[in-house]
């Protein structure tokens, strides 16, 4: 394996880890705004370790939803990682039960994208491990910073935080709506549908249920196409 490729992989993996880690601040703050304490926020980052599901869980709890609704929406978003795992098996070839149990914890958007984008299998493994390690460390550290920072806020700063939380969700959603994303127009249609369903149901269903019910908007995506599926790296573009 050539050394320039190896250092490029390392550089990209560490750089991505630092960039994504910033989201950890927003997550920690969102968890605090939803009424979770520091240890609950940190447990989510350490144990769940998949950003969109973590945001969904605290988002539903923050909206007054039940634990069941919160866990349900986290699991719906977590199904993505199952598909990523299937794509990663040929690259990472995790042999044995223990190796697989360890590998599974780091199967997320970013590690999948980096492993799939690497030029060969050895670098795929390296990219997966280094991206996983750098994101895991920064994400957990930044979660603590966000949760502690938000806990000290009051009055006007609290109002600022209330406005930051939906903005953080929008930032999470935004890449899927951009023109470069595969089937961006369909993604937009589904997104608008999901928002409309959630708002329409808000007055009539228990808090949190409207978020899960919004998955019916996936029907707006229509039938599967015969064309090839996008790779995870394209999905992150």
């Amino acid at each position: 394996m050539s050394s320039p490729e190896r250092s490029a992989t390392l550089r990209d993996a560490v750089g991505l880890g630092l960039a994504v880690g910033l989201y950890g601040v927003a997550f920690g703050a969102a968890a605090d705004a939803a009424g979770l304490n520091l240890w609950q926020a940190m447990s989510l980052s350490a144990l769940m370790f998949t950003g969109a599901s973590q945001f969904a869980l605290v988002g539903v709890l923050g909206a007054g939803g039940s634990a069941v609704a919160a866990v349900g929406s986290a699991l719906l978003l977590g199904t993505r990682n199952t598909v990523y795992g299937v794509r990663l098996v040929p690259l990472l070839q995790p042999r044995g039960g223990l190796r697989r149990i360890g590998t599974a914890h780091w199967v997320i958007d970013e590690t999948t994208a980096m492993a799939l984008a690497a030029p060969n299998r050895a670098l795929s493994k390296l990219a997966f491990l280094v991206t996983g390690a750098s994101i895991y460390l920064t994400w957990n550290a930044m979660t603590a910073v966000g949760a502690l920072g938000a806990a000290g806020l009051g009055g006007t700063a609290r109002a600022a935080l209330d406005a930051v939380v939906p903005a953080a969700f929008l930032a999470l959603l935004w890449p899927r709506l951009r023109k470069v994303f595969p089937e961006a127009a369909t993604q937009r249609r589904v997104a608008v549908g999901g928002a409309v369903v959630a708002l329409a149901l808000t007055p009539v269903v228990p808090a949190g249920v409207q978020v899960i019910a919004a998955v019916v908007a996936v029907a707006l995506a229509g039938r599967p196409r015969a064309t090839e599926r996008p790779t995870a790296s394209e999905e992150l573009a």
Partner: protein, 105 residues
């Protein structure tokens, strides 16, 4: 919600999300790589994240509410459209929310 209820959600959600990851590495790929499964999984995030944006920005309990959060969201959308970095998007949204809070007194 009680501390116990929150912990239950945290731990059950974490275990479930981990098992979903583990399943991908463990089940035969043919189970997952079906067109309909892939279709649904590809579009669930858009529907759910958009629902969360709407609920976080414009509801309070079972009521639709218009306040500084929606102004912050509009500012965030503009910043994202202009390719602002993530942290700038959040700071601008927070500043807008705080400003509305102060003005509305």
């Amino acid at each position: 919600m009680s501390g116990t209820g929150l912990w239950a959600a945290v731990l059950a959600g974490s275990l479930g999300c981990y098992l979903l990851k583990l399943a991908g590495l463990s089940v035969p790929s043919a189970w997952v790589e079906q067109p309909w499964v892939a279709r649904i999984v590809d579009f669930v995030p858009a529907a759910l994240l958009a629902a969360l944006v709407a609920v976080q920005a414009a509801t309070s309990g079972q009521h639709l509410v218009l306040d500084g959060r929606l102004v912050g969201l509009a500012v965030a959308a503009l910043a994202l459209a202009l390719r602002a970095p993530f942290i700038v998007v959040l700071l601008l949204a927070g500043a807008a929310g705080a400003l509305v809070h102060v003005l509305a007194g």
